[in-house]
Symmetry: C2
Subunit: 559 residues, 2 copies
Amino acid sequence: MSRIVIIGGVAAGPKAAARARRLMPDAEITIVERGRLISYAGCGMPFFVAGQVKDFNQLFSTPYGVLRDEQFFAREKGVKVLTRTEATSIDRQKKEVAVTNLDTGESYTLPYDKLVLATGSSPVIPPIPGLELKGVHRLNHPDDALKIMEDLEEVSEAVVIGAGLIGMEALDALIKRKIFVSVVEIKDQVLPGILDPELAAVLAARLEEQGVELHLGEKVLRLEGDEDGRVSRVVTDRGTLEAQLVIVAVGVRPNVELARAAGLEIGQTGAIAVNEHLQTSDPDIYALGDCVENTHLVSGQKVYIPLASTANRQGRVVGDNLAGIPSRFKGVLGTAVLKTLNFNIARTGLGELQARELGYDVETVVNSTHDRTHYYPGHDNLLIKLVVDKSTRRLLGAQAVGGGEAVKRIDVAATVLYFGGTVDDLAGVDLGYAPPFSTPIDPVQHTANTLRNKLSGLAKTIGARDLKARMDAGEDLVLLDVRMPAQFNAKHIEDERVMLVPLNELRQRIGEVPRDKEIVILCAMGTRAWEAQRILEGAGYTRVRFLEGGLQAWPYEME
Amino acid sequence: MSRIVIIGGVAAGPKAAARARRLMPDAEITIVERGRLISYAGCGMPFFVAGQVKDFNQLFSTPYGVLRDEQFFAREKGVKVLTRTEATSIDRQKKEVAVTNLDTGESYTLPYDKLVLATGSSPVIPPIPGLELKGVHRLNHPDDALKIMEDLEEVSEAVVIGAGLIGMEALDALIKRKIFVSVVEIKDQVLPGILDPELAAVLAARLEEQGVELHLGEKVLRLEGDEDGRVSRVVTDRGTLEAQLVIVAVGVRPNVELARAAGLEIGQTGAIAVNEHLQTSDPDIYALGDCVENTHLVSGQKVYIPLASTANRQGRVVGDNLAGIPSRFKGVLGTAVLKTLNFNIARTGLGELQARELGYDVETVVNSTHDRTHYYPGHDNLLIKLVVDKSTRRLLGAQAVGGGEAVKRIDVAATVLYFGGTVDDLAGVDLGYAPPFSTPIDPVQHTANTLRNKLSGLAKTIGARDLKARMDAGEDLVLLDVRMPAQFNAKHIEDERVMLVPLNELRQRIGEVPRDKEIVILCAMGTRAWEAQRILEGAGYTRVRFLEGGLQAWPYEME
């Protein structure tokens, strides 16, 4: 009878245990978990804080309402779970794990035939004085969520430190609690590593419109407290923010101490190195989830991208391998999605900078679209960016931000990336269309088509940042706005270089457009400006570009 | 200067014209349209009837509010549109199209260098007496929608003839108008050709629960009217239905008369034959949209699947080719999606029967899932079916039905189909997960995993129809329901062969489960039953199966 010991009982460990059990009815399977809670939905914590999930136990329960506790694992899965039990060392020769019961202090060893490391990750603790103050929290563990909930009542202002995935979900949760939130991020954009700068800038502008105070490129120096030892101020290198609650969300690092002490190979990323079977450098020890590094399927490089989805998919692979089925985990695409306020955010593959650093000959596009037909109620906007390699036309990455259905489009792009497909492939898939779901040409395909127009030299564009820089440098451009007068009057770039000629008058009034200047065409979403570019070029104009993604992608001031 | 004539001004024609114009500033482009209206959102008509689209003109307008009329095409696109002008014949030698102005009767010819046929489709008119009665409508053309709207006021009961895509959208529209609707379909299921029978049966059961009266496998013999010549009854081969409004939606056929008269090749499907460049048998004549047949990318066969999404994607390809860019339209996947009542319905690739008829060694799975984490508010159910080829594991088709986000999953499956990927590929893509969007293992990947368990011989299942047939035949089965007692008491299959042992008691109470009988395990969604199958097999039971998709996939009566 095979003895399997799994260290870690949150997501990856239980999944591997359940799969192994289904494949090996007779195996002796033991999960060792340091904490009190097991098999919980860590990703659900922000939604509990937000008040969207009312019942805390739901986050620890099966869809059919059974609490996933030790008894559940014993009864339904035939898996023994030891909670409050810490694995302290691994003896690879004897094939034993030394464990200590954290309540009783009792220490003993668990023999194994196969060992699984699902030791997860821990929040990074930044070197900021004052983290010990009351009201300072993280949002990684269920206990964090409970502590935040206890604290919420007296809070009117909060600061989130870190504008990454968890930081933005924390922002959303606190806003839903009617708390004024400031976000301080040391990098100069929101969602660094997730969104490219131009999409992040648009998102940031929209968040600020909704009352979020963003402090980007700003460093927290210390937290200060009141006489009760409760946090009251966040001091940064640029000022002081009042706050009765602080959530620190500056990322996680893999828990590799046990593996390292056992002499297992640690990868370049700092996470445990595994092969396609999720075997560590010791063939009798597997590792998965937040403690391992993965192969990026686009770049081929090792990356550390800890996500619940990866942990779950890996659980099946480890369960298979424990049972002698040589399943493989090919790798990840860097797909990440989140919702904050009313924005859906999704990305997959390589960002533009990553792609350039890897030596690709990069072309990109930013495109504004509707997520559904414009006449269907509830349709919303999307801003989609694609990154491709010019020479091969291979898709390298995709990102989307907006009130519209972003994740669907990024899932399709991820599938194209998985197969190494091109931008032409992305445009060629027969995706589902009906007015409640999409536009006749799906937004991601419309974006692919715009990029194909750029690749063929037909569409000539300029990004918002470049245009802003050239305007600020005082360049003698014509900014030709081709929207309807009512749209123009509602909001436009206030600049003397701007002129208005609606698209439906452009062919007739083309003589008004100067021939001796470079022309940048503006419209709401880019579609009309693209049409106008071709009209002007057809009339012999040679220096014509349009603003990519239109004014929807313009994160700067308008009047 | 190139002269391009395009016959047809609804969707495909204008799209090809716009693309050609952007590529060829100097071309003379003329669209000939028999009707009064051009460039309209035919797909939007049901939503106008439903009252979801308030302003009829929205269906003829750009997203920025400009009416897409003749003037719009002249001004913004530089394209001449001749409405109420019918193309009556093509002289391929002279390269001329004979046209007649339907208002003035004037006839003349239009010379062309390249001709484009975008003649669309027409509703099939079934051989039913009484179609001329007042209150009998179709729902294909904007005029149909307007006529229905004029008629709605006095209607309390309506009959939709045909349970296809448009029929189901018509049903939805009328229900939203608080009209009692019966649907009569000559085939024995809803959405024939779109959904496989077992998914159609579940959908039908759910629609009936919501008060829709379905008459499947029933043939309409005639429509009868009152003294005012208004329809009052629909007489079928099984009875008579009261109705003050009838919508006939029994499919469309391609408009090929002009092409056939010109000697162009008509394909086996009855639609115009085109190559990958969408060229007809005359290299100077292109055809696209609802009048052409396409290559199915999975089967390689020619199919007639007229859809707006295909027409639009083809418009770009034709525009390119008109300008000398040899773009290709590879084909379609048979993707089709719709919403009716609160159900999202989507399919792509081959249905099970199609796949069997093509000689594939077919395996399938039906799987119940949540579309998002069960604790996230607003999550809903999905029933997903996958079809694969056993020997190659290649994905052949996918279908989904439910209140949950179905289209996203089918779009991912379509992308896998496009690349000829396997069920393992489908399971291996790094899709986006966060609680507002998905489950840690996406529903379509969970379904793929269940199918992989079937393919490896591990999961042993029975479909609802087979189980029902065996029950009805009086077979001596044990139906082992492993849900919680409260779930069981709320609703279960009322049959003396049913026994209840909740999953969390099964390991302890296994002695109660007969060893001498075949056991079929039931649960809500299939997950627990699968677990139970492995528990029983682990304990030496050999004849154990579980109901695929659980009771969510059970379309028959429960108590």
